[in-house]
Point group: C2
Chain length 355, copies 2
């Protein structure tokens, strides 16, 4: 992988920076954006001149396909600043590949690697003052693509816009997370788009998640839609279960997003000699393990929340509380991961890429 | 139902009409829009002043939730001009109710009936010169709502835009339609959003539909995602099957859109004394009926295509051709329906509403 600067980008700088107006100690996740954005349009069958320009609203026709037929995909990744002010990306090749996998599934054009990588690189260079160092601080990076072609007929657009926007974030503290295991609602179908980071997958979860929130749960753990017996993933996280000293996580599938954090934690667990099984995990075995005291931990993994411990889960109106233990595997893996991301520890895996 | 004019709309007229530049004999479906659009924003927990203004692109922030999380719903309906230049809507209450059902499922605010109906009414009044009379001609009406609130965090927006745009259309001729029965891909999950007219449902179908197109089929008939044994619906149409003299169509469910044309055809079939069964229809019985010669017709129903006869279907690489028969039930029902819509026949059902 190579974060190239080879792609020629037309750059228009903003006249004044908004940075002084930002309270970096009190950032609400994903709500503040840097001075610039990267943009590249696709039309007449090809990608046009990429540009970097001041972050600003842009014009769209009311009949744009993204509004009517939901052709929209995105990625979520982070950049970190080390002690000597260098900026590092974490496994950007994985996000790039997944972005194009999503593009194919949503009948959208793939973005060339040079455009994706040089856009990322040069945008971060330009807004590097916005990347703060220190534990928990990161630049959340949001590459996304939308269908801009007009016409209210349900077929793929011929025009698209690929953009990258940047949002500085601090560590994501969500309080105690209790989850509801889905018994009726679902996020993905067999043969559907669950494995794509498609916009439509997220809105689909809001209503059932609101119901869970009202019942006192912060998240839903989705199950397979046909039988609701297999534990799949949370809203924006993959999930791990620890029974005795074995970590369990579902294999990725057409219904489950192939999370970068998930695959990283799998590699870290292996290198830490933690037992790990990648296999379908049943709701029934979770309940049994909770009852007989062998269920030790549940945690989610994702770019935004990193590793998020879960305090308990509910299924069929029964709440199962997890034991409060010290020295959790969740914390062990999280510390390993963030040390590598923040360049506090040698990256023997080659995951970090300097821009 | 009442197409009220009670809601006060702020109207800004366009200075020049685009109508003279339009070739009404050669309209490509959903590609031409009238001079004006209706718009109403939702913010601070309430709907704001509705406006009608010239059709034009509008500004959105790059972080708008519609781009990232797919909160977007729509409706599709038609208006018709009768012999004396009056304009009629067809069952607008059904579209209104379905729109708000979609809104609830996508965690979006419901649109008040006065706003929906007076928007529709006054917009059509203003652009009435664009509604052409004569068989097949209609004004396709596209109400839609998108999440406009900014922020790259996966939760519901607090701001929305509801719009109505109008596109004059002629009869929809799609040529001979051969369909592929889905064996792997799916459009909806149990407990998912298949029953909502959510933007994300459509983009999900583009890739498998492209594959079908390449194999020589114009449409896919979706099956249930768990077993692929039950016939559900086509891309933007519900489906009917005629075996001997009985019409069959699947019951609507969480996976299937409750089509207005479908329910209308059901009522028309009853009033024409056609046998009709609303029950799950199996792929296996379709194949058996095709083999033993009892399968007479398959047709799709939807606002855009009205009634669309299907020439044959493929399943597991075998193509089953339908008999070419005259006096089809499809044609009988289509003629009944369009006569009522175009006010050529008495509407004893009370489906047509004058604006
Ligand atoms: C549905 C879903 N599952 C899992 C994840 C975790 O993936 P990653 O670790 O690549 O961030 C995400 C998102 O970021 C997601 O949206
Ligand atoms: C998925 C789907 N099924 C069926 C239909 C038919 O519904 P209606 O008859 O209300 O147009 C439509 C759309 O218009 C649709 O989008």
């Amino acid at each position: 992988m190579n974060v190239s600067q080879t792609c020629k980008i037309e750059i228009t700088k903003s006249l004044v920076s908004k940075i002084n107006a930002v309270d970096f100690e009190n950032l609400s996740f994903g709500s503040v954006f840097t001075d610039h954005l990267f943009e590249c349009d696709f039309k007449n069958g090809e990608w046009q001149q990429p540009v970097i320009k001041p972050y600003a609203p842009f014009l769209l026709d009311p009949s744009s396909r993204v509004f009517h037929y939901g052709q929209a995909i995105f990625e979520g990744m982070k950049a970190y600043k080390d002690g000597s002010d260098a900026i590092w990306l974490f496994r950007p090749d994985e996000n790039f590949k997944r972005f194009n996998k999503s593009a194919v599934r949503m009948a959208m054009p793939e973005v060339p690697e040079e455009i994706f990588m040089s856009g990322l690189n040069q945008l971060l260079q330009l807004d590097k003052a916005w990347v703060k160092k220190g534990s928990g601080n990161a630049m959340y990076i949001r590459p996304f693509m939308i269908a801009t072609g007009g016409g209210v007929i349900a077929n793929p657009s011929t025009e698209y816009k690929f953009m990258i926007i940047l949002s500085p974030v601090t560590s994501y503290y969500s309080g105690e997370v209790k989850v509801l295991i889905a018994e009726h609602y679902s996020r993905a179908a067999n043969g559907g788009i669950g494995a794509a980071k498609a916009a439509g997958n997220y809105a689909a979860q809001f209503f059932p998640t609101n119901l869970a929130n009202k019942a006192g749960f912060q998240q839903v753990i989705w199950t397979d839609d046909a039988t609701h017996t297999m534990l799949e993933e949370a809203g924006t996280m993959n999930v791990f279960f620890r029974i005795n000293d074995t970590l369990l996580t579902a294999p990725v599938s057409e219904r489950i997003l192939d999370g970068v954090t998930r695959k990283t934690l799998i590699d870290l667990a292996k290198s830490e000699n933690i037992n790990l099984e990648i296999r379908p995990v049943l709701v029934s075995e979770l309940i049994e393990a909770s009852k007989n005291g062998t269920l030790k931990e549940i945690f989610g993994s994702g770019t935004a929340a990193v590793v998020s411990p879960i305090a308990g889960f509910s299924f069929q109106d029964i709440y199962y509380e997890l034991p409060k233990i010290e020295n959790t595997v969740a914390l062990q893996l999280k510390n390993k991961l963030t040390s590598i991301q923040n360049k506090l520890e040698e990256d023997k895996f080659g995951w970090t890429v300097k821009i």
